[in-house]
């Protein structure tokens, strides 16, 4: 059963039309990538889903149309959005950031265990757990953002360019941890990423956007095959 389905989705910032009609679907427990050059509408697509930009067309999640829902209502349905720039709550401690992630959860008792799991998933956060999130490095903040999203026990994780501004080695460790997270929890993922290789290490299928429209969709292997032809375009 498809968990999330976008059909004919348009979006605009004021007069500027960014998405022209995006088609996308994420199966239960599946992991889909969104690739494309800078400005193709990747981030805007995630924002369309999480209700933080004016959208047209249809967005169905678990069979229900959620277009126009407010961000906190979308989150309540089980969609966790790790925004571009990580959305760190700077003045709160790392632990407090994680607890905010679990705000909606009813099963309060199992939250401490999940926090331990996150700290184990991202060991670098372990010794910084009490310090203020604003003092963390870029990589650490990215890990914290992913961990915080996981704390909500979502059905679908929207991941927006997790590698942005990180050193290659840090990006690699972050993506390994996310892959492990996916294996352990089976959470469905929609991953926006410029770095195609990092994306393919995580997603089963992917779609390529250009000027707000799908131009290519296929499994990771098919796309990787075409990769040589599109190398300049996708940026190796």
């Amino acid at each position: 059963m498809t968990l999330l389905e976008l059909s004919g989705v348009t979006a605009s910032y004021g007069p500027v039309q960014v998405l022209e009609g995006v088609e996308l679907s994420v199966p239960e427990g599946g992991s889909v990538g969104i690739l494309g050059a800078n400005g193709a509408g990747k981030t805007t697509t995630l924002r369309a889903i999480s209700g933080t930009v004016r959208t047209g067309g249809r967005i169905r999640f678990e069979g229900r149309d959620i277009r126009g829902f407010r961000p906190d209502r979308v989150a309540a349905l089980g969609i966790a959005h790790v925004p571009e720039g990580r959305g760190t709550l700077g003045q709160l401690s790392v632990r407090e950031n994680l607890m905010v992630g679990a705000y909606l959860r009813k099963d309060r008792r199992s939250i401490p265990a999940d926090i331990e799991y996150c700290l184990d998933l991202f060991p670098q956060l372990q010794d910084r757990v009490a310090s203020r999130a604003a003092s963390l490095s870029g990589g650490e903040q990215q890990m914290l953002a992913v961990a915080r999203a996981f704390m909500a026990k979502p059905k679908l994780l929207l991941l927006d360019e997790a590698s942005l501004g990180l050193a290659p080695s840090t990006s690699k460790t972050v993506y390994e941890a996310i892959r492990r997270l996916r294996l352990d929890s089976g959470i469905a993922m929609l991953v926006v990423e410029q770095n195609a290789n990092l994306a393919f290490s995580l997603v089963d299928t992917a779609t390529v956007l250009e000027t707000g429209r799908n131009v290519l969709t296929g499994s990771s292997d098919e796309l990787r095959g075409m990769d040589e032809i599109r190398r300049a375009y996708l940026g190796g």
Binding site: S12, Y13, P15, V16, Q17, V18, N38, G39, A40, G41, K42, T43, T44, R47, T52, V53, P83, E84, G85, R86, G87, T211
Partner: protein, 360 residues
């Protein structure tokens, strides 16, 4: 672009318009009734005070709730100078310089504070100023206040006092507005603007936020001193009540309503400060405070850039109504793909900023 604007940009017409305005201003006191002159004089006094406040608050974004203290200080220095027989120009200079020095000292400490702490500290100026004025009664005449008569018309001018006062205020106000306009247009004005937007960005551009804030504060207090001089020219008496805290709030309101960050807006602000009490006085005095609060909030909601932006807003509304396309989906103009939409700043795309307007 409609034909009117092209005509207006024609240089000769603009010179003629300025000359007409100037002549009007010069002839006005000779024909207007006494009370009208006196009201215009008071508008000049408070326009200069609001102008000073605009420099530090409208343009540089530092909330200054102590401007009335510098007006009071200027008035006291002027009274002291006049009663000790100093020459008028020396008195004016002393009022501005002393207010400037005190402003500088306060700014050196206050500017170290971030954001809103400045608002909370500048509140102290009038609050401490009133008992201080009562304490130093050999200079200030204590709580009974002090009068100093120096703006009665001299015989050689064969003018009435209110006309003579009008010209004094016109001279100083015009000079103040000219100075402020050049200051704001120049590199300092740009520095003010950058510090207002984002102090961290300003620092990265080599503009020291601290020095810029201190400069803005000092200029504001110099204008406050000048306004104090004009206050005494108009009222010829001052007392501790002149610098009471309530006036500071009214000055901030007048600035925002006139038009924050706008030179011409300060003039409207000065007029607002003088006219509204007279208006509510006529209707029902008990409405005065409530109506001033309501007007300020209404302007903040409906016209964030103040009354000065009214003509522009009206024109924008009329132009939008006259050029509305056929009903249907929004205009399919090619989307100007500005990079901003993609790599929007951290978290969410910045929502419409209801910020204090900023006129060129």
């Amino acid at each position: 672009m409609s034909s009117v604007t092209s005509l207006r940009s024609n240089r000769t017409l603009r010179i003629v318009l300025i000359a007409v305005v100037a002549i009007l201003l010069l002839v006005a006191p000779l024909v207007l009734p006494v009370f009208a002159n006196q009201t215009l004089v008071r508008i000049g006094v408070y326009a200069v005070a609001v102008l000073g406040l605009n420099i530090v608050m409208g343009y540089t974004g530092q909330v200054n709730l102590g401007q009335i203290f510098f007006v009071g200080l200027g008035a006291y220095v002027t009274a002291y100078g006049v009663n000790h027989g100093w020459n008028i120009v020396v008195v004016f200079a002393a009022a501005c310089v002393i207010a400037g020095i005190v402003g500088l000292l306060v700014a050196l400490a206050a500017a170290r504070l971030g954001g809103l702490a400045i608002a909370m500290v500048t509140i102290a100026l009038p609050i401490v100023g009133v008992p201080l004025a009562k304490r130093l009664d050999e200079f200030t005449g204590g709580s009974q206040g002090i009068s100093a008569r120096f703006s009665d018309a001299p015989d050689w001018s064969r003018l009435y006092s209110d006309q003579w006062q009008f010209y004094i205020v016109l001279l100083v106000t015009a000079a103040a507005f000219l100075l402020a306009r050049n200051l704001v247009r120049g590199k300092y004005g740009r520095a003010f603007g950058v510090v207002r937007e984002n102090e961290a960005v300003a620092a990265s551009m080599g503009v020291s936020p601290y020095r810029t804030k201190v400069l803005a504060f000092t200029v504001a207090s110099i204008f406050g001193g000048a306004s104090g001089f004009l206050y005494l020219a108009a009222v010829q008496y001052t007392s501790p009540e002149t610098l009471s805290f309530g006036h500071s709030i009214s000055l901030v309101a007048a600035m925002v309503i006139g038009g924050a960050g706008s030179i011409a807006g300060s003039l409207i602000g000065g007029a607002y400060y003088v006219f509204v009490p007279q208006l509510t006085n006529a209707i029902d005095p008990s409405f005065t405070t409530a109506s001033q609060g309501a007007i300020l909030l209404a302007v903040l909601f409906l016209l964030p850039e103040g009354l000065v932006s009214l003509p522009r807003v009206v024109r924008r509304l009329t132009r939008r109504r006259s050029k509305r396309p056929a009903p249907g989906n929004s205009p399919q103009t090619a989307p100007a793909r500005s990079p901003v939409t993609e790599a929007a700043p951290e978290g969410l795309q910045k929502t419409e900023r209801g910020k204090i307007g900023h006129e060129g």
